[in-house]
């Protein structure tokens, strides 16, 4: 199971990658493996406002459906249309071609994208998945 060191994580098994004011979001390898084969991803619409910790979509796999949570506050700027035709990308490349949506995050006082305080480092996330068995 892979947990790239450069990414931030949530307890709901999403990853976040920040570039300037844009956060890219997907689900982790751990999540993809636990879900089994992903068959459908319902994503937020471009332009929608999302709030950290709030559901903004659904991930359907063979055996279950899970809510997709936004890890950040902001406005959706882009969604991964490729998942429409090939939701299996989430299993194959959860951190790459299986990304889900991008959010423009409002800047904080320091001019940097203001990320919620609760995001986990790779090390913290790895601990979390180990304790979850």
């Amino acid at each position: 199971m892979s947990v790239p060191a450069e990414l931030r994580y949530t307890e709901e098994h999403e990853w976040v990658s920040v570039d300037g004011d844009t956060a890219s979001v997907g689900v982790t390898d751990y999540a993809a493996q636990s879900l089994g084969d992903v068959v459908f991803v319902s994503l937020p619409t471009v332009g929608a406002s999302v709030a950290a910790g709030e559901p903004c979509g659904e991930v359907e796999s063979t055996k279950s459906v899970s809510d997709l949570y936004s890890p950040v506050d902001g406005e959706v700027t882009e969604v991964n249309e490729d998942l429409n035709d090939d939701p299996g990308l989430v299993n194959a490349e959860p951190y790459g071609a299986g990304w889900m949506f991008r959010v423009r995050v409002a800047a904080g006082a320091d001019g940097e994208a203001a990320l919620p305080a609760g995001l986990l480092s790779a090390t913290e996330y790895e601990e979390l998945t180990k304790s979850a068995g």
Binding site: G36, D37, F40, T62, G88
Partner: protein, 344 residues
Amino acid sequence: MTDFAGWLMPLRYRSETAEHNAVRSDAALFDLSHMGEIAVTGAGAGEALDYALTGWLSKLVPGRARYTMLCAPDGGVLDDLVVYRQAEDRYLVIANAANTPVVLDELQRRISGAGVTDETGVTALIAIQGPNAQARLTPFTPLALSSIPYYAGAYGDVAGRPAWVARTGYTGEDGFEIFCAAGDAEHIWTALADSEGPAGAGLPAAGLAARDTLRLEAGMPLYGNELGPDMTPYEAGLGRVVRLDKPGDFVGRAELAEHAAETPRHSLIGLISQSRRVPRHGYAVLTEGKQVGAVTSGAPSPTLGKPIAMAYIEGTREGSFWIDIRGRQEPAELTELPFYRRSK
């Protein structure tokens, strides 16, 4: 891995969709050792089972199998079973893992004049299922597999170990179920898994997730979903398993005879979702905004490429249906069961 009625079972080995497709296109192996095996033996075994179960088992020819049910006195289904007559005076009753204690207890209470032995712990079950199952199994057994018809079995070696090999399964494909001593299971499994296939690879293993989507496509009921104690075989559309024409009394006969004459409260239908969102167990089925039933089993169908569901609905099987998928009504098309039928 998942806990399944006290057994540690693989939900999937790798991709459950790939495992499902392997069974539809070639063959795959299932470890089904969690299933209950209860032997009923002695000269009176057939008549004893005639009394205990809904089927007419004394009439079964040695070497043949029957799909049958264990019903409560009120006609409710306690388990659905496959029964093999392995010899003149030996039957093997296959129960669902979660129901094995109930089936064993009921058989012991209902049967006198025959032996009832729980062989679950000493018996392993390996299934090989798929259109190429016979070709894939042939090199490993001296049995003439082509002479074993559907729902029949024979004793013979597999990979040099003694087994009962039956042409039965729960996938909608051709295939065999191999019952062997628990201590021989690993040897047989390894031999089959390492065998050379058309692609040069060994037989893949398939887990519980693929088993569920395969049986759903094949329109086969799952106890706990389509079958339960609050339901008679007639309501599940399986009245044929109740042999009211057999001689003598059997548990549930009086109640079942009444139900046989009634129009069932509800009927089992097949639905193909017109949305990509997947119907799941318990979701409401609606007609013109009014709930008429509920989904019993639902899954994305790898073969159809669409979500499918079985559901119980009140009254007739006609009309337009919607499924309430977490608050949104999605249209679903009524279809004949099964969703998938193999080409002969």
